[in-house]
């Protein structure tokens, strides 16, 4: 069924009787050509592009709970491609381009909204580092503007410029960045994949891999054994747990990242603002809630909830940056488990086991990568070659030293 304004009108006038399920609830088949483990944004996007772009069939997505229940439904919805390093920047820019056509591609309004992102700087050294980054963005075809204090003040007059403990000297602005409706992205890909024949199987937890002579043959699940010629794992947050079932240790720690939303307010903030000196970032959803967050709690966790010191730290950052939000109320806070990798960058690669592929290590940044990650993972699963923008995301880069460390903090995941 094609979605359109006309369709909405027609259904409204006929009592909404014609709406069909957005996806089926199929029973798992005994075997598939390709099984994707993980019905989050990346897994669903992978299945979609496998079917749509790479012409593959007999694909299943296995989700242990409900689709979109992981980080695609828990993040702060930011979409951007303001990266520095050559291993990252082209990939995220590719993702940005896919975002820009996503609604038309999927015939589903995921509300990609390019209202820009501004990373604030507070010192000359930070400005220089941002200039290097902004130039890297230009050099790989992305957009960036270095705003001085006056230009910034014109765009966002409500920041605390003068009384702040760390005065704001300017910002790096990416106009094409923005936000997208996170659940909508998962649903759009799910619906698209389902329409192309992909079986999306919810409440189906993978409990083991069947591996024979170094080659994966299928997966054991709570709904029985499912054979597969190829298995792609896209379970960021739980990558270590799942890959341990295949005997693989990963350069990843699982950490909890909290996120926050305020009560609904009339429009205040147009795009996304990040406050480097205060570990704080904020945007405002179309519904009016301020959506904000800060650092990971800092310790290994699978608990999907964080602790009070980070809540306070984030609120302090918010108040220091924008004291006018003080009388708004925090409505909800929650935690997501993120795959913090050893260099802060993701992995999209084959593994030591034939037919078993890994997509993980997304740290804070998985949501914005969703389209490109799905596309690149599909490319790898379909062709056994990495996509041209994802060649650096190798699992052996740690052994060879070709790490992609945007923040330069080394093998300490909670600092990335």
């Amino acid at each position: 069924m094609k979605f359109s304004a006309l369709r909405v009108v027609k259904e409204a006038l006929t009592g909404h009787k014609g709406w069909k399920p957005l996806w089926r609830n199929p029973q798992p088949q005994p075997d598939y050509d390709i099984v994707i483990v993980g019905g989050g944004g990346h897994g669903l996007a992978t299945a979609y592009y496998l079917a749509k772009t790479f012409g593959k069939a007999r694909i299943a997505v296995l989700e242990k709970g409900w689709i979109g229940s992981g980080n695609v439904g828990r993040n702060t919805t930011i979409v951007r491609s303001n990266y520095l390093l050559p291993g990252n920047q082209p990939f995220y820019e590719f993702s940005m381009k896919l975002w820009e056509g996503l609604e038309q591609e999927l015939n589903f309004n995921a509300m990609v909204s390019q209202r820009g992102i501004i990373n604030l700087f507070h010192t000359d050294a930070q400005r220089d580092a941002f200039r290097r980054r902004g130039n890297a963005m230009h050099l790989s075809g992305a957009d960036a503007v270095l705003l001085n204090r006056d230009a910034l003040r014109q765009k966002v007059p409500f920041l605390n410029y003068d009384n702040a403990r760390f005065p704001i000297k300017g910002g790096l602005w990416q106009p094409r960045a923005g936000t997208a409706r996170h659940d909508g992205v998962a649903w759009g890909y799910a619906r698209g994949a389902d329409m192309l024949g992909v079986d999306i199987i919810q409440n189906c937890e993978v409990t083991g891999f069947r591996i024979d002579a170094g080659r994966v043959r299928g997966v054991e699940t709570t709904r029985g054994y499912i054979g597969a010629a190829k298995v792609g794992v896209a379970v960021a947050g739980s990558s270590s747990r799942v890959m341990a079932m295949a005997g693989q240790r990963l350069p990843i720690e699982s950490h909890v990242l909290q996120a926050f939303v305020s009560e609904g307010l009339k429009p205040v903030i147009s795009g996304v603002i990040t406050f480097g000196a205060g570990h704080f970032y904020i945007s405002q959803s179309d519904k009016g809630g301020l959506v904000f967050g800060g650092d990971v709690d800092g310790y290994n966790s699978y608990a999907q909830r964080g602790n009070l010191p980070v809540v306070e730290d984030v609120a302090q950052g918010g108040m220091a940056l924008m004291p006018m939000i003080g009388r708004a109320r925090l409505l909800r806070s929650w935690g997501g488990i993120v795959d913090m990798s050893m260099d802060g960058s993701p992995i999209i690669d084959r593994t030591a086991i034939d037919g078993l592929y890994l997509n993980g290590g997304w740290c804070y940044g998985g949501f914005k990568a969703t389209p490109a990650s799905g596309f690149a993972f599909a490319h790898l699963l379909a062709t056994d070659r990495p996509h041209e923008t994802a060649t650096a995301y190798r699992l052996d880069r740690f052994a060879t030293g070709h790490v992609i460390d945007e923040r330069g903090t080394g093998a300490q995941p909670n600092l990335h």
């Binding site: 270590s240 240790r249 720690e253 699982s254």
Partner: protein, 98 residues
Amino acid sequence: MLIPHPLLGLRDAEEFVYLGDASLMQRPDPDSPTALTDFCDYVFLRDNPAGVHRELWFHEQGDRSWLVVTRNTLTHEILGAELATDAARPTVTQEPSA
């Protein structure tokens, strides 16, 4: 969170800085013929268990001791803490099975 410091009693986790898996105490032999591989595993690979985890915390805003804390990563329950200097040296982490 509260961390039961073996000398100072329950202390707020905010006083500490977290490092990671206690296996970081087992620095490989730099003279071994497999040193490069051993170091790569040591520096980069983690068990990252969902459950009981032995991990290193530094009491930076306190007595500056490194502690090995045993904590459940699913529930955050803390099962014990000892000074790193007292911690028994477990055997070197096993090679991953194929």
